[in-house]
Amino acid sequence: MSPSPPAAPTSGAGADRLFGLVTAGAAWLVLLVLGGAAASMAWGGRLAFEAFGLGFITSRDWDAVSGKFGALVPIYGTLATSIIALVIAVPVSIGIALILTDIAPRWLRAPIGTAVELLAAIPSIIYGMWGLFVFAPFMAAHVEPWLSDTLGPLPVIGTLFTGPPIGIGLLTASIVLGIMIIPFITAVARDVFNAVPTSLREAAVALGSTRWEILSRVTLPYTRSAIIGAIFLGLGRALGETMAVTFVLGNAHDLSASLLMPSNSIAAAIANEFTEADSDLYRSSLIALAFLLFVVTFLVLAAAKLMLMRIGRTHGRTH
């Protein structure tokens, strides 16, 4: 822990006060943006919350004509796509982090690391376009027919894979989301793997551990809370991702058990419908959706941050 700067000398105290006030004011601004966003979503969504109460969350009616709005389908779509995205992204990210910290020769680590970071830099609108024009047709032609043929007839999980292979739907959106959050989870996992004390690893090697045993019995237990934090960080990103999902999810307000069917998510519903919302209640319902999204991502990201703080990362990067 480094000592704080010593107190300023008395000369220039007025200017010092001013400088301190300006910087503190800017810091307050961060809180103001966050608090203002939360407050304005709550205020803007009040009409919907008043009109529908708890039914807003439990009803699946989304009918602009009769003025009935229930958010069950977008809530389900948001959660389902985010969770499937995590199932895809978490093992892949840990694998890449392992390559970056342990397996790859040193000269190869920086290029691979940069490439993965570029995956995070690609604007989400590009993911969306690629998803719509390239990946969804690819899924429809090659992956989904195979899935519904082989997994469709099975009991229980078969219902997840029934329906026409149209490419647009929960599964495609989940995969695109998964790709998008890989770099975020990888970056944190790499940092915390690197932060494992060398002595611990050396001790494990001295005991004759293989690489897998070091990972599963030393590295992962040691970094557990940070890895969970990284997963939550990825979840927070996935929940709020808008453009990519909007392109490939299909904007359908139907609740379907099949992952091959079009669905909706909170962010996609807002992006698709907000500028077309023609009544105050409609607009308010979409803002109420944004409020729910904001609250959930806030909690998820706060949990992520708390878990990352526990391991005391001092050199970690935040994005």
Partner: protein, 276 residues
């Protein structure tokens, strides 16, 4: 037993390798598609003509202009505020309760859904004003930029060795001059890196612009009016049924990707060079 351990180990290594190939395949696939489709659609008209009505050809000049103006205005708003707040976290407010709170919440704002920021600015500016505007778009982008600059400034300032501060204070300099004359200078490359990465991020942001700047088919230089911009044009054109619009969307996507990834690579290259 020994064999099984070794096989598990090999399997784990192979899995890690496959994961990396899996991750990088998407990067190559997405970039390949963007380059092939975009290059086929790029022409001089892209930079000289306005966005066309459905079914005819044109360019994206007004969208490029609108994006540039909004991004620059967002930089002008977000950079000084972000640097000031970052300075508070790392220097003047270090160890204060406010700094700890802001630092925590800033990271949440950093990852918060950008669509919520768009709606916030809609409620804040667009609804009271009664119409979409370029200014609202710039404000939304500035709010997205702010936490990025705060975090990178904070980190860059913390890297400055404390001896520098102590030496400056020993010479009798007031704190504000220590920060502005000494600390900023030695942290400059880190701060600039953060601002440029923030620029790359907001240049591609789409969701917050949907409800703030929206789009404008015609040439408009007024920040008080709806303003065309590259991301929203890409979104609307890609979702449309017209081939000409699809081609323009790909061309815009290619230009945007080259800009964003080029900036990222450049920043990383110089940051690495500077740290050696």
């Amino acid at each position: 037993m020994r064999l099984r351990r070794q096989l598990t180990d090999i399997a784990a290594s192979l899995f890690a390798l496959a994961a990396t190939v899996f991750g990088l395949t998407w990067l190559v696939w997405i970039l390949w598609t963007t380059v092939v489709e975009g290059a086929a659609a790029i022409s001089p008209a892209l930079f000289t003509e306005m966005t066309p009505p459905p079914g005819s050809s044109g360019g994206l000049l007004n969208a490029f202009y609108g994006s540039a103006v909004m991004v620059l205005l967002a930089l002008a708003i977000g950079t000084p505020l972000g640097i000031a707040a970052g300075t508070y976290l790392a220097e003047h407010g270090r160890h204060s309760r406010l700094a700890a709170t802001v630092s925590f919440l800033n990271d949440i704002l950093l990852s918060a859904p950008s669509i919520v920021i768009g709606l916030f600015v809609y409620e804040l500016v667009v609804r009271p004003a009664g119409h979409f505007s370029g200014f609202a778009g710039a404000l939304a982008l500035a709010m997205i930029l702010l936490p990025i600059v705060v975090r990178t400034t904070d980190e860059a300032l913390r890297l400055v060795p404390n001896q520098m501060r102590e030496a400056a204070f020993a010479l009798g300099m007031p704190a504000w001059r220590v920060t502005s004359r000494i600390i900023y200078k030695s942290a400059l490359s880190g701060i600039v890196t953060g601002v440029l990465l923030g620029l790359a991020r907001i240049a591609g942001e789409t969701a917050p612009l949907l409800f703030t700047a929206l789009n404008n088919q015609f040439w408009s230089a007024s920040m008080a009016q709806p303003l065309a911009n590259v991301p929203v044009v890409i979104f609307q054109y890609a979702m449309s049924p017209y081939d000409e619009w699809h081609a323009l969307a790909w061309a815009g996507a290619l230009v945007l990707t080259i800009f964003v990834l080029g900036l990222n690579l450049m920043v990383r290259f110089f940051a690495r060079k500077g740290s050696k």
